[in-house]
């Protein structure tokens, strides 16, 4: 797994203390002057998005486990409690269903709660509240009650996390009507998409790729990138389309780079928002290249890639010259740190898969 310059190497299980976060690296840019390009990490971009939303709108509230004094285990909420006070940003009791359930009541009473589920697998106690109520309230009340709640979930692996700290749970959320599911892969999108999510009248599951938290980008905040229902072509190509999101966007770009050395011109699309799916952008690309593969960390069977492959085939069958591939994690529980490198889809695995296509066609 490659890591670009300036990013904290995250494949070494000792490099990041998962439970206590990355106090030093996440906060290097604490006093960034505005309106000047600076190097911004994804955590800093998310932090600034929350700060700007809290400043702009009194109804925005931030609460969850350890998001106040500590600033979250990944420091995404750092400094917000000090700046906005404990009635806007506070530490809740340790109970995920309670966090989501109370956020529902607050949203019914005119607030815009932004809540943090500390780690992917720890959102599961809140599954019922998210699926049965957050997703359905608008529909069951014929649009009379909408729930503008943003549920932030740090997700996916590649950081040497212990058990239950590396799940990719997107398929649960994307198969739930009523939810919007967003996942940025870079600091600029992280900022822009989080602001858009908080402004949305619909509930948003905002999935933050843990392995990208420390990625840096030179940016001027505030920044507005493409709207959240649009996928983005982030590298042009003519031979094949690689679809990726969150943590695997880097893998896709690296694969395209490596493919170029073998004479392949690979287009890369960052999906950015998993639900709704941007059929238009993706189908246009697939019609151009006639080949597509999707890369994700989650297990394959019944995963998000299956949905992507099915809908692309339905819409573009006659344009395709090869089956749509899924390069994913294996159908096993997310493994221990020492096995992670064998589980995660790598550039080599992506390139090997592409070789399975009959390139003569």
């Amino acid at each position: 797994m490659s890591v670009e310059a300036g990013t904290t190497p995250t494949t070494d299980p000792n490099a990041v203390d998962v439970e206590s976060g990355t106090a030093t690296s996440a906060n290097e840019d604490a006093a960034v002057p505005e309106a000047r390009p600076t190097s911004v990490t994804m955590t800093k971009a998310l932090n600034q998005a929350l700060r700007d939303c809290l400043a702009d709108d009194d109804t925005v509230l931030v609460f969850g486990e350890d998001v106040g004094r500590l600033g979250g285990v990944f420091r995404v909420t750092e400094g917000l409690r000090a700046e906005f006070g404990a009635t806007r940003v506070w530490d809740s009791p340790l109970a995920e269903s309670g966090i989501i359930g109370t956020a529902i009541g607050m949203a019914m009473n005119g607030m815009r709660p932004v809540v943090e589920m500390q780690f992917d697998a720890y959102a599961y106690p809140a599954f019922e509240q998210i699926v049965s109520h957050v997703a359905k309230m608008r529909n069951r009340t014929k649009g009379r009650v909408s729930l503008p709640i943003t549920i932030r979930i740090p997700y996916a692996g590649d950081i040497g996390g212990v058990e239950h700290h590396s799940d990719s749970s997107e398929a649960y959320w994307t198969s739930t009507p009523g939810l919007t599911v967003v996942t940025p892969s870079n600091p600029a999108d992280a900022y822009s998409l989080l602001r858009e999510s908080i402004a949305s009248d619909d509930p948003v599951v905002f999935m933050e790729p843990k392995s990208r938290y420390w990625m840096k980008e030179t940016l001027t905040l505030p920044v507005t990138t493409a709207p959240m229902d649009r996928a983005q072509v982030i590298r042009e190509g003519t031979d094949a389309t690689l679809l990726a999101y969150g943590p695997t966007v880097r893998t896709a770009l690296d694969s395209a780079e490596a493919g170029a050395e073998h004479g392949l011109s690979i287009e890369v699309i960052d999906l950015r928002t998993l639900s709704p799916f941007d059929d238009e952008t993706v189908s246009a690309s697939v019609r151009k290249t006639s080949r597509a593969a999707i890369i994700h960390e989650a297990a394959q069977f019944g995963g998000y890639g299956a949905e992507v492959a099915a809908r692309l085939t339905e819409r573009n069958f006659t344009y395709l010259s090869a089956p749509i591939l899924r390069i994913t994690g294996f159908d096993v529980p997310y493994p221990s740190p020492k096995l992670e490198e064998f589980y995660l889809p790598t550039v080599e695995r992506v390139l090997d898969s592409l070789e399975s296509w009959d390139w003569e066609l």
Binding site: G105, G110, M111, T141, R144, T180
Partner: protein, 373 residues
């Protein structure tokens, strides 16, 4: 050396349920915990509303047996808890009910047709929650207790003079969300009243297999909030206890748990057979504690109610039953396209495509019907 340990716990509630009016219609000598019996005028109003909702429950249950409604969980026998607690709410307060609390919705002013929409199968929630300050009735057990807590938290943050009341059952009290709600409400000191209707059964499971605790009100102590045990068939006690708890909440003193001891006279819904899990002697026993009988006796004894008054209320109840029948005879207009209308606030291409599919199917059906004519 002693360690200064902060204490927020309270002593356990009294074993004897709080009660003003006994099953015989006479004042009791049981504890009232400093609460005051409501005025005769208030009691007359509560009596009237209990009679109305009992007639409502009977009519709806009857229609369900006829197959006119899909399913209905009646709260017959629990009128005192439903009506006493809901009547204590101020208009600005919010109610967070469950599937069994139609009597509470009716008391809150939700029109019969809108209330029954869910049971008719028209739409999950047929009324506007903002209009009646009442949340859609929750079916996943205990989930609404957290919504009530969050709503009250927002009210507190906004400085609103509003409290929330939520109903839950003895079965629901075993769910994790109940404990999370008790804890959040107490830590955040939200103006929330949890009315636990202990009607002795969760579908078929009796209380003794639900909990090993002596009483459910005891749980409050563990969360640092007051817990009261109330005779849930004495509407005077329920109204007084809930009124005081709401007042406490509005004054910034946090949540209260109120356990109402009561009994479910009907089956869980029309689809279960209660003779499989309870003896008829038990049902007969509980009939002696009927909430309406005892209040009627009491009000007659004080002279606040006479035959004419009783007949008057009975007449209003018959009128309500007729409203229920009328509502059931009027088919609500169902627009299948509405399937897609309220899922998201913003249009979605995929939903628009699916809507087109449905519309084409509908057009095809209409064409086929026209062809046959």
């Amino acid at each position: 050396m002693t360690i200064d340990v902060p204490t927020t716990g309270r002593s356990l509630p009294q074993l004897q349920p709080i009660s003003f009016i006994g099953p015989d219609g006479q004042p009791t000598d049981t504890p009232t915990e400093g609460l005051r019996i409501p005025s005769d005028a208030t009691l007359i109003g509560l009596y009237r509303q209990m009679v109305l909702v009992r007639r409502f429950e009977a009519q709806v249950t009857h229609l369900t047996r006829q197959g006119r409604l899909a399913t209905y969980p009646s709260a017959a026998g629990q009128e005192a808890a439903e009506v006493g607690a809901t009547t204590a709410l101020a208009p600005n307060d919010w109610l967070f009910p469950t599937y069994r609390d139609s009597a509470a919705l009716l008391t809150r002013g939700v029109p019969v047709a809108e209330l029954l929409a869910a049971f008719r199968g028209d739409w999950h929630c047929g009324f506007d929650p903002h209009e009646y300050h009442t949340s859609p009735a929750a079916t996943p057990l205990a989930t609404q207790t957290l919504h009530a807590t969050g709503f009250a938290m927002a009210a507190k943050l906004k400085g609103e003079d509003a409290a929330t009341l939520t109903f839950l059952g003895d079965g629901a009290s075993s769910e994790g969300d109940t404990h999370e709600a008790f804890n959040f409400a107490s830590v955040w000191q939200t103006p929330t009243v949890f009315v636990l209707q202990n009607n002795q059964y969760a579908i078929s499971t009796p209380l003794r297999e639900q909990t090993n605790a002596t009483m459910l009100a005891d749980r409050a102590a563990g969360y640092g909030m007051p817990g009261l045990r109330v005779d849930g068939n004495d509407v005077a006690a329920v109204f007084a206890a809930v009124s005081a708890a709401l007042e406490r909440g509005r004054n910034g003193d946090g949540p209260t748990l109120i356990e109402c001891l009561t009994y479910r006279m009907e089956s869980h819904t029309n689809s279960d057979d209660p003779t499989k899990y309870r003896e008829s002697e038990e049902v007969e026993h509980w009939k002696q504690f009927d909430p309406i009988d005892r209040l009627e006796k009491y009000l007659r004894s004080t002279g606040a109610l006479n035959d004419a008054g009783v007949a008057d209320v009975a007449e209003a109840a018959e009128a309500l039953a007729e409203t229920v029948r009328d509502a059931m005879n009027t088919e609500a207009e169902i627009d299948p396209r509405e399937l897609f209308a309220h899922v998201y606030s913003r249009p979605r291409t995929a939903l628009a495509e699916q809507q087109q599919l449905l519309e084409a199917e509908l057009a095809g059906t209409e064409l086929a019907a026209a062809g046959q004519a």
